[in-house]
């Protein structure tokens, strides 16, 4: 998933679980069935898992722009500092 997709997935997960839990509680309390509350919630968790955990295509609509290999060569990574210079610096301290 790309960054946007990950954010979307997390948001959907939180919203869906909260909605299902409130719905399950309300339904269970009103009809007086504890079992029904648990069944609705379990169904909700399963549905949320199905929707937010796998790497669906709609979570990849803003793909990361990786640099071309040739472009990367033009901007080399910075070199580490030379060892002798470090020794001199430490003796000054």
């Amino acid at each position: 998933m790309d960054w946007q997709g990950q954010k979307q997935a997390e948001l959907w997960m939180q919203i869906l679980l909260l909605v299902f839990s409130v719905g399950a509680l309300a339904t269970g309390y009103i009809i007086g069935s504890f079992r029904m509350m648990m069944l609705i919630y379990a169904g909700g968790v399963f549905f949320t898992t199905l929707l937010t955990v796998p790497n669906w295509p709609f979570f990849n609509r803003h793909p990361l722009k990786w640099l071309d290999p040739s472009e990367a060569e033009k901007h080399p990574k910075p070199q580490k500092a030379v060892v002798s210079k470090d020794k001199k610096k430490s003796s000054k301290k």
């Binding site: 997935a9 997390e10 679980l17 269970g28 007086g32 504890f34 898992t49 937010t52």
Partner: protein, 168 residues
């Protein structure tokens, strides 16, 4: 949220935390139930009296128990545990409680009942205090929840008396 495993863990952990909250709310909802139980016990008769010379008094009896405990059930009730205890005072103990009978009620429909039964458990005293003793019969109930807090209460019925030995 960068991997399958990470997201799966996040969903399950959040779902479980919410479940714990739901159970707490469900248990709290029991406080909004104001029950009105009723019960009546009649002693049909005393079946026997055991007086051991150096032992404890024991009495056997048959009772009619009528009760309507349906209002104690809520959506969060798993079962109702009820028991009848005889309560009386002796010189040694300010309160003696002897459990005579108990039952588990699993459904609201069965909470309104009538039963005629001998005492399930022995009515034994610590000593020889039972002859001519006045006692209360108390119906205790424990409302056992599916989740959360258990409520318990009782109903005291007084005016019972064990007859003198010779009349049994």
């Amino acid at each position: 949220m960068h991997s399958f495993g990470y997201r799966a863990n996040a969903v399950l952990t959040f779902a479980l935390t919410i479940l714990a909250l739901m159970c707490a709310i469900a248990s709290f909802s029991d406080n909004f139930n104001f029950p009105s139980p009723s019960a009546e016990i009649q002693i049909v008769g005393f079946n026997g009296f055991k007086k051991k010379p150096h032992g404890n008094d024991e009495v056997s009896l048959t009772m009619n128990i009528t009760a309507d405990l349906q209002s104690l059930f809520t959506w969060n009730t798993k079962q109702l545990f009820i028991f009848v205890a005889a309560e009386y005072e002796t010189p040694q103990n300010s309160l003696n409680q002897v459990s005579l009978w108990d039952a588990i009620i699993l459904a609201k429909e069965h909470a309104k009942f009538w039963i005629q039964t001998k005492n399930k458990y022995r009515f034994v005293d610590q000593g020889s205090n039972l002859r001519g003793k006045d006692f209360n019969l108390t119906l205790h109930w424990h409302v056992m929840p599916k989740t959360g807090k258990m409520f318990a209460d009782k109903l005291v019925m007084s005016g019972f008396r064990i007859p003198e030995e010779h009349s049994l």
